[in-house]
């Protein structure tokens, strides 16, 4: 990470990185295996609307772009961002030439810097100093690229180009930018910006997150870090950011620094991970345990309102789902820091009695025991979520009928025997439940989590597909929904106890 004395880049220069008016690919290659080809390919293939320029030693045409041999030959003032694939030794002259053309941001994909021994570290320090002198925002080096769906920008040397959304990603590992992007494609909960910070020589992870807090496209930050360098400086930078924007952080190498031999008992208990964990909690950073959990928690922040309290109602169409969800809620530790499966208030119970036959569970979890008719599910969701003693709802058991519908549709009796009509009804109903969950959440301002394993086993099932269509995350299990809700409640409580909006 960079030294403490460097100034923080302004919003304008980040705009050049994430919303460039034109892009130059420096070191474009005619060889489809080279970064200089893949980078240009991805920019063009993903539909970037601005002008695209390229340099190539021989001035070759690459993917229909007529490259030039020298930056000097390019027009002035039309390019904001240079995506650099040239060797490290060529980059100082390149940056000088780019600055003359009005370029204010550079993504350095080239390696051979801080990761490559003392010589590389020296070259990196010189490049940072040069970029500062030229007024160029320097991302990387040794990074995989930058993604910005609002600008249809995919300037990176890996797939995928994730759908547009509100999660802003900054990662010390480019491969996890890719992983998060893959989850975004799977779930439909999309990305606002994503950057592989590479060696983060000039622009650091906290710099990106600080920008995201000001970026109207970004509603939650998602970050992967391995080495935070000066931990105190890292947290001090993120503290004011976390007060404005949810930050979901996953740390690699968390177990690497074990307990130290120490004279004091306190020191003997102070492992790196415990201190880091405490620092995150203090700063209001939501720390996730795994990559998939980090994505799901970020996707939840991006698509659900914060719960005002920890009182949860579980609504289930049938079966053991409610029971295991109650167990998962109990494992969060109960009030005040954990979630609570409340006793149903008498008036809510009476209201549900009016909607369901007497065999329903009569308490929380609300197990409808298969007693629902056409409009029961939306009605029960609405009753539960609109009750003043309820802060969040977890909805389980959707998609069963649509799953049976699929079996019918693919079986030998299709479409006769009345199958066509019942299949259409089931699929319509499951889609409707998903819509109802989102609509009731919007109307009440309370989070409603829909969970079914069909989200991964059968993503085109009407239930998970319906949830995706509402823009929300369909949780692959109730446990994972509970974990995401627990993170939201922790943040809500952190904000409330500090009188933050």
């Amino acid at each position: 990470m960079a030294g403490a004395a460097r100034s923080v880049p302004g919003t304008e220069r980040f705009r050049a990185l994430f919303e460039p008016r034109g892009i130059l690919v420096a070191g474009a290659s005619t060889h489809p295996g080279k970064f200089g080809f893949v980078g240009l390919h991805n920019i063009l293939a993903c539909g970037y609307a601005g002008k695209v320029f390229a340099t190539n030693r021989d001035g070759a045409e690459v993917l229909g772009v007529q490259s030039v041999a020298e930056v000097d030959e390019l027009p002035d003032g039309e390019i904001d961002l240079v995506f650099v694939c040239t060797p490290a030794s060529a980059n100082p002259d390149l940056l000088r030439a780019c600055a003359k053309k009005g370029i204010t941001a550079a993504f350095i994909a080239s390696g051979g810097y801080g990761e490559a021994g003392p010589e590389g570290r020296k070259a990196e320090a010189e490049l940072v100093a040069l970029a500062d002198e030229l007024g160029i925002l320097l991302a990387g080096p040794n990074g995989q690229g930058v993604v910005s769906p609002p600008a249809q920008l995919c300037a990176q040397i890996v797939a995928p180009f994730p759908p547009r959304g509100h999660i802003g990603i900054a990662s010390q590992s480019g491969n996890f930018v890719s992983s998060f992007g893959n989850y975004a494609q799977l779930t439909g909960v999309g990305v606002s910006r994503a950057v592989s910070a590479g060696n983060a020589a000039a622009v650091t992870i906290p710099d990106y997150l600080d920008y995201y807090a000001d970026d109207p496209e970004t509603h939650v930050a998602l970050t992967y870090v391995e080495n935070v360098g000066d931990g105190r400086a890292f947290v001090d930078r993120l503290r004011p950011v976390a007060a404005r924007l949810p930050i979901v952080l996953v740390k690699g190498g968390a177990s690497a620094g074990g307990q130290r031999a120490a004279a004091s008992h306190t020191g003997a208990l102070a492992s790196d991970d415990r201190v880091f964990d405490g620092a995150c909690r203090q700063a209001g950073i939501s720390r996730a345990e795994t990559i998939e959990q980090a994505y799901e928690v970020a996707a939840t922040f991006a698509t659900q309102p914060l719960p005002r309290g920890n009182r949860v109602v579980v609504v289930s169409t049938a079966g053991g789902w409610g029971v295991v969800t109650a167990d998962a809620l109990a494992r969060t530790g109960g009030s005040p820091r954990g979630l609570e499966l409340i006793e149903l208030p008498a008036d809510l119970r009476a209201a549900i009695d009016g909607e369901l036959p007497p065999r329903w569970s009569g308490n929380n979890p609300i197990d409808m025991a298969g007693g629902e008719t056409r409009d029961t599910v939306p009605k029960v969701l609405e009753l539960a979520a609109s009750h003043p003693d309820v802060d969040a709802v977890i909805f389980l058991g959707m998609g069963i009928q649509a799953n049976e519908a699929r079996l019918m549709r693919e079986g030998p009796f299709w479409p006769g025997h009345g199958l066509e009509r019942i299949v259409a009804y089931h699929e319509r109903q499951d889609a409707r439940f998903a819509e109802a969950a989102a609509a009731v959440s919007d109307a009440t301002g309370k989070p409603i989590f829909s969970a079914t394993e069909l989200a991964v086993t059968s993503p085109d099932n009407a239930a998970p597909a319906g949830v995706r269509a509402t823009g929300r995350l369909c949780y692959p299990s109730a446990n994972r929904a509970v974990t995401a809700l627990e993170h939201l409640w922790r943040r809500s409580r952190w904000l409330q106890r500090r009188h933050l909006p």
Binding site: V235, S264, H265, A270, G278, R497
Partner: protein, 213 residues
Amino acid sequence: MPTLSEAASKELLGGFGVPFPPEHVVASADEAVGAAEALGYPVVVKLGGDTIAHKTERGLVRLGLGSADQVRDAAGSLLAAATPQDGDVHLLVAPMVRASRELIAGLHHDPQFGMTVMLGVGGILAEAVADVSFRLVPIAPVDAEDMIDDLALQALLGEFRGEPAVERVAVADVLLGLSRVAVERDDIASADVNPLLIVDGRPLAVDALVELR
């Protein structure tokens, strides 16, 4: 690194609100008996000094002394156990405090994060249980409360074996005091308040060790 004696550690931390029982620092066995009479039996007698850090391991702590004779014997043998390397030594006479619940609190200078304050579940299994919470100094009252919430063994903090629930505000005050002393004294390398006993629901520290840089 140099350490403060137990008596000096307690005086420093006590000035920032860490609660300790009244105790006497004396030089002789006779004075120890006088102090015990003033405090009332049973008492604890320990050998103290600037270079004496781990008294229990060296057998320099005598617990539950119930009479003047016991105090006199213990004091005499503790003074005899002092080695030339211990330098100036003294006797610490304190009331014997019994508690079924023990916490541990302290300060630790982390190489990446600087000074931190800790709260944990104490007792001889503290390091094995490792139910602890850290924050970066300085902490606010809400951070101290969060640290208490962080502990997994919440059952230990409620009503317990006929004793009242732990007064969380009083525990938070210990943590805030530790944070303040770390801010005001930048020569502190670490501090252990161990054990931090829970007596009638309130924290009471019966040992402390401050390490200087």
